[in-house]
């Protein structure tokens, strides 16, 4: 039994806003909150002068799998500047924009995060994703299975066999041990297999008479029908293209009243006809979000500096290569998806980058409901996740924003509305966007709060006038009730859970697709999926 005492508790799900409360932990769970004269603690954690929050949850980050690993392999120059020696309790590795697996786990934990969702898992290489997740210590994890350009899904939609789409998705989630439906540039990535793209959400894929609008609409419907704990996770068409906010709004509309999560919305909220007149359309995108409770989004905030961009959006990454002239990796995955990787440096002096930077913050600050707005950098696309404390500071302090705005090109100011926004997030709201709301969005009941019965994933931060310092390094981190980080130092390298879903509505789809599968894939159907033994601590989250 551990008693955390004298800390100021921020637990939005239970409506606790900075109150001093004792939290009692036993057997990996929170067993009591407040005074408990009958309980005896073996260890008392004195949290005086500290903030106590549930462990952080990152709903969108690229931390594991083929694409991430190609990014690592591509960039020795990125690793050399950030090396991490082994200690008695931890493994060695490298950090900066694409940390090695062990370091990924440690650094999230050191910042007080206890759960991270890998945002893009190609089914064919799902085993790879899970092998890497296995080697990311401490935190709980899950992965979104890529489906927006899958042959079977496109073919069934083309033929109007929506029930088959549903069975197939149910089967694919179970087979890949995935958490939800990820859609990346629907139909566009399929077209990329011939070097093409789609330019709007009503243009058909190169090989299938299916439009992105149809696909988004049908898959959002299916996610709701299957009762997936999380909605579809949508990376809209036309990412990074000036004027793309219209596509983003149309994509949200395509879901009707079905749940949809629009990811890294910053990259999809641009106005203008080209780079010369790019400007913020954050307001237009947020307005739609504000008025439609079925919609959630995350920021995809950029951070000035060098990073590695990587998405399943092959055509976008090629475009970014043409723009930057930097080295370019493309990795098309048969029948399913693609991936691209390009190193990129966001510069304060660049007009476009300055506008992008402002848009991410505008989205977060204009969103009326913090329960539907999430802080991400789309790690590592906007910047490494290790910059979250800096972003928290920008959200919480107008002065910090003004300091940064003063360094931007003057011409950027007329293209953004950030300088006029006065809102400052409170600690309570930060706890919402980084803990409570992510847990809700993922449909988890035992996470993101500090009520009795919750997983004892607890971050304790030392108070400091500089919030960036507060969130950079935890005083204590409890994972499953064990103190794993103390004073920023990882004491213990535990293994976290892998969360996945099994909607159980696959019917006989596996046998139905077998012949075609074995004809056009290059692996056998029986060898395709992820066997149970890949999940050291697998946990199936129920649907419905």
């Amino acid at each position: 039994m551990i008693r955390i005492t004298k800390g100021k508790v921020y637990d939005p799900i239970n409506g606790i806003n900075g109150k001093e409360l004792d939290i009692w932990v036993d057997g990996g769970k929170i067993v009591q909150v407040g005074d408990a004269p009958d309980l005896v603690a073996e260890r008392i954690i004195d949290a005086e002068g500290c903030i106590v929050m549930p462990g952080g949850i990152d709903i969108h980050s690229h931390i594991a799998g083929g694409k991430v690993n190609l990014g690592r392999k591509l960039r020795p120059e990125d690793h050399r500047k950030d090396v991490v020696p082994r200690t008695e309790t931890t493994r060695s590795g490298v950090g900066h924009s694409i940390p090695s697996t062990f370091v990924t786990g440690y650094r999230y934990a050191q910042m007080g995060y206890t759960m991270v969702m890998e945002a893009a898992m190609p089914p064919l290489t799902a085993k790879h994703t899970h092998e890497e997740l296995h080697d990311i210590p401490i935190i709980d994890k899950g992965s979104y299975t890529l489906m927006g350009n899958n042959h079977f899904i496109l073919k069934f939609i083309e033929k109007g066999e929506i029930e088959k789409v549903k069975s197939f998705i149910s089967w694919l989630l179970k087979t890949t041990k995935g958490y939800t439906i990820k859609i990346v540039n629907p139909c566009g990535v399929e077209s990329w297999k011939w070097g093409k793209n789609v330019e709007n959400i009503d243009q058909q894929a190169a090989d299938y008479a299916v439009t992105p609008r149809q696909l988004i609409s049908i898959l959002s419907q299916i996610a709701d029908e299957l009762g997936l704990p999380h909605s579809i996770h949508l990376h809209c068409n036309n990412i990074g293209v000036p004027g793309n906010y219209e596509t983003t709004v149309e994509s949200m509309k395509a879901t009707g009243t079905n749940r949809v999560h629009v990811t890294h919305a910053q990259f999809n909220s641009y106005g203008g006809k080209g780079w010369a007149d790019i400007h913020s359309k954050a307001r237009e995108v947020v307005e739609y979000v504000n008025e439609h409770p079925n919609v959630t989004f995350d920021a995809g905030q950029i951070v000035f500096g060098d990073t590695t961009t990587m998405t399943a959006d092959g055509p976008w990454q090629y475009r970014l290569y043409l723009l930057s002239g930097n080295k370019w990796v493309n990795a098309d995955v048969e029948m399913e998806t693609s991936a691209g990787i390009v190193p990129y440096t966001f510069r304060k002096k660049s007009l476009v980058n300055a506008v992008q930077w402002a848009i991410g913050l505008e989205l977060m600050l204009l969103a009326e409901d913090p329960w539907r707005a999430f802080m991400t950098t789309d790690h590592p696309n906007g910047g490494p996740f290790t910059f979250y404390p800096q972003i928290i500071k920008l959200l919480m302090s107008r002065a910090a924003r003004e300091e940064m705005i003063a360094q931007l090109p003057r011409r950027a100011l007329e293209r953004i509305s950030l300088p006029q926004i006065t809102r400052e997030y409170s600690l309570y709201e930060i706890a919402i966007i980084t803990r409570a709301a992510p847990s809700k969005l993922l449909g988890l009941h035992q996470k993101g709060h500090l009520g009795v019965g919750a997983d004892a994933d607890i971050a304790i931060y030392r108070e400091n006038p500089d919030v960036e310092k507060v969130f950079s390094s935890v005083q204590y981190l409890l994972k499953d009730g064990e103190v794993v980080v103390e004073n920023g130092i990882v004491l213990k390298s535990t293994s976290g859970r892998i969360l996945y879903v099994d909607p159980g509505e696959e019917g006989d789809i596996e046998e139905y697709i077998r012949e075609e599968f074995e004809k056009f894939y290059t692996v056998t159907l029986d060898g395709y999926g992820v066997p149970e033994n890949y999940l050291e601590r697998g946990e199936c989250v129920s649907c419905g």
Binding site: L74, R75, P76, E77
Partner: protein, 281 residues
């Protein structure tokens, strides 16, 4: 006589013959300055995987100087002068890999040979090697966007491959033979190679100048087909470079200064704004 007793000098000699590599980036004027003999002796070095003190491996004479003299065989000692910004290291013998890599200023003199990655990604300063050097002098490390970015490397002996790879600014001059891919992927700067060169000089260069003098070279390698002949002339900038080298004491024949050079443009598969100048006797 060695520098013992001379003013402002610190002398290091290996205590033993090293059978495994030593990493000693602490042998740097920046770190030796304003430190006592004792403090210098306690600086950390790695003999293979054993972390040790400088004094465990080297005899140290003198203290608190930015003027370092190394005597003996340092060919297995890596990273000497790594990242240094001032002062001088005089190596009276052979030296290992990464000598002067990423250095920003100061001077390194090597009496003997230097191994691979000499002055790789350096940003300033001077390196002068009397003997020969390995591969990748002044080059970029694997994955990096550019190699040496300022400064000067002078080599009197021969070199290995890919000298000046992706260099952006600065000068490299080589008296002896050079290996393959001299100045590969160059972005800027100047390489002067006085003797024979290996295959494919200037491959993939974007900008910058490679000057080949082809001294004592009976069978010069053909240039890549992606370089095109431009003109024969007497470049002014070259005169300045050659005179500067001479002033520093680097041997340059008189006839080169006023000589004529054939100019080739390339590499057309890249930006194509680079040039190879070939001395015409």
């Amino acid at each position: 006589m060695s520098g013992v007793g001379e003013m402002n000098e610190i002398l290091l000699r290996p205590k033993v013959e090293f059978d495994v590599p030593v990493e000693a980036e602490v042998i740097s004027p920046d770190l030796f300055a304003e430190k006592s003999h004792e403090e210098i002796g306690s600086l950390p070095v790695f003999l293979g995987n054993r972390k040790m003190c400088l004094k465990d491996l080297f005899e140290i004479e003198g203290q608190s100087s930015t003027n370092i003299v190394l005597e003996g065989d340092f060919s297995r000692v890596k990273k000497i002068g790594y990242g240094m910004s001032r002062g001088k290291i005089h190596i009276k013998g052979n030296v290992g890999m990464h000598t002067g890599a990423t250095m920003k200023g100061g001077e390194i003199i090597v009496e003997g040979d230097a191994m691979d990655w000499l002055g790789a990604e350096m940003n300033g300063g001077l390196i002068w090697v009397k003997g020969s050097v390995g591969h990748f002098a002044g080059a970029s490390y694997w994955g990096s966007k550019h190699g040496m970015n300022r400064g000067m490397i002078l080599i009197e002996g021969n070199t290995g491959n890919e000298v000046g790879k992706k260099m952006r600014r600065g000068t490299i001059a080589i008296k002896g033979k050079t290996g393959d891919f001299l100045g590969v992927g160059m972005i800027g700067g100047t390489i002067l190679a006085f003797s024979e060169t290996g295959e494919r000089p200037g491959a993939e260069m974007k900008r910058g100048s490679i000057v080949l003098f082809l001294e004592n070279c009976t069978n010069p390698p053909p240039l890549l087909p992606t370089f095109t002949y431009n003109c024969t002339y007497s470049p002014t900038f070259l005169r300045v470079y050659l005179k500067t080298l001479r002033k520093l004491g680097f041997p340059v024949k008189e006839e080169y200064i006023s000589g004529k050079y054939r100019r080739y443009n390339g590499d057309i598969v890249e930006l194509g704004k680079g040039e190879i100048l070939i001395y015409e006797p």
